[in-house]
Amino acid sequence: MGRLGYAFLYLCLGIIALFQVFPIVWLFLFSLKDNSEIFSGSPFALPTEFRWENYQKVWEGGIGVYFFNSVWITGLAIILTVLLASMATFAITRMNWKLNKFVLGLFMVGLMIPIHSALIPLFNMFLNVNLIDNPLSIVITYTAYNLPITMMILLGFYYTLPREIEEAAIIDGCSINRLFFRIILPMTAPVISTTVIINMIYNWNEFVFVNTFISSDEYKTLTVGIQNFIGQYMTDWGAIGATLIISIIPILLAFIFFSNKVVEGISSSAVKG
């Protein structure tokens, strides 16, 4: 490619990049405005007056507890999902048994359920085992509903793992657990980082399940903090913007961390491979 070609490429990439950064800038400006500015002015106009009180309002709304709940519920669900999905994918793609295609098919069907048809049955089930208003119901629901998609993503990578590695390990007398936890899991670190990012975003932003299964304030998560500003006839959009900005910071940081892992993991596993 010539110099001109590169210049053009970078121009395109730069324009797309601007386009992708806009939402955050917009959201930040949004969070400092009041309703009338939000609806009437240009979306990228600076607020006439920086309404930091939106953040104060959000803080006084008791966001601290929600924040803490979001962190641990998201975290625990991610660990469970990624671990269980990796194990199942490993057994399905690398081990020899008859029903593996069928079981994989079952997981795939799990992708297809619209959550609103599951809401009432799930509520009933949790009610029967006394898990309503218990954060555990949220953790296991997130885990179950993210398992299929996580497995699908892992799948493509597991198929590309060279068989020789397993063979060598087994011949060396390595047990399956050791093979899985010590060799396969580290090798799939890049794709695991990918699934962690995806799970994190899903769990962090989810609110239908939380709203339905949880009723005590002490167990609610950040997305519920948004609901706090939606009124019967009026909605405080500035405060919602502030909540969104606060809630995006931790996942932005986690995202950057795991996004680096996607690359690091690859180079380290490439050395081994």
Binding site: M1, I24, L27, M125, Y159, I170, S259
Partner: protein, 292 residues
């Protein structure tokens, strides 16, 4: 080797926890919703068994088929847009300067919740002071359309933010897949004098084909049950012009108090998704690899 890799106990141990969770929390509700579909039930009072009436009504329900068509259109567009995401990922994964930073920036919108994305795009599409129409008017378009209000535009207008919302998701997956390709293969091809385009098409693409097929399934399944932005931005309107299967189901079950019928629609949504997925898998399957 074979003996170790077919240890039934280990297989059970590895698969059952996940299967149990999915079985209990997804399959039981799924079966129950199929069962509620056989009932006349407002979700409040007593249930009355009416056999397949809800299902036969649904099959004759033009609104349902409209919404199914809209969902299918979304699935087609989502699948087509994978090409763009793949191209962007290829550029980002190649060794150009600044690709690391660019990649992170490109994925930012994906972190936003649907609430934020909906608000942003409502402002983009605002008929009088929205960004899109401001640009169009400055380009000399006299009376640009009110995108979310006109039945002939609304569906396509709303596809844009949906596709944009998911761009990061697919770029992330493709990027990881591309980085997984051993550098030695690409180096060898380059020494043989292959151009960047040839390397992409002849070497990289076949190597990540497995991942691409997975993303096709994900795009289709995700589109067919898509709900979020449509519900917030248009509520399926005007008059059903942007209704999709999931929003139609939700309205029936939760707004019209027709939980039995809504459940039947939800179950049909699953059946349709299943059929489309099977067809796609058949179409994309190659001889040596009919694996997933």
């Amino acid at each position: 080797m074979n003996k170790v890799m077919s240890n039934k106990l280990v297989i059970a141990l590895y698969v059952l926890p996940a299967l149990l969770l999915v079985g209990v929390l997804i399959f039981i509700p799924l079966i129950l919703s199929g069962y509620y579909g056989l009932m006349e039930w407002d979700g409040i009072g007593a249930m009355k068994f009416i056999g397949l009436e809800n299902y036969s009504n649904a099959i004759r329900d033009l609104k349902f088929w409209d919404s199914a068509w809209h969902s299918l259109l979304l699935a087609i567009f989502s699948t087509l847009s994978l090409v763009i995401y793949l191209a962007i990922s290829m550029i980002l994964a190649s060794k150009i300067k600044g690709s690391d930073l660019l990649r992170k920036i490109y994925l930012i919108p994906m972190l936003l919740s649907s609430v934020a994305i909906a608000q942003l795009w409502i402002k983009v599409f605002n008929p009088t002071n929205g960004m899109l129409n401001s640009i169009l008017m400055s380009l000399g378009v006299d009376s640009p359309p009110a995108w979310l209000a006109e039945p002939k535009f609304v569906l396509f207008a709303i596809f844009v933010p949906i596709l944009w919302q998911y761009a990061g998701f697919y770029i992330l997956i493709y990027y990881a897949a591309l980085k997984n390709i051993p550098g030695s293969l690409i180096e060898a091809a380059r020494i043989d004098g292959a151009s960047a385009f040839q390397i992409a098409y002849k070497i990289k693409l076949p190597l990540i084909m497995g991942v691409v097929k997975v993303t096709i399934v994900l795009a289709i399944v995700g589109s067919l049950k898509y709900f979020d932005l449509i519900y917030v931005m248009t509520g399926g309107g005007p008059n059903g012009a942007s209704e999709v299967m999931a929003s139609y189901m939700y309205k029936l079950a939760f707004a019209s108090n027709d939980f039995g019928y809504g459940s039947a629609i939800g179950f049909l949504l699953l059946v349709i998704t299943l059929i489309v997925t099977v067809i796609i898998r058949k179409l994309t399957a190659t001889k040596e690899e009919i694996q997933y």
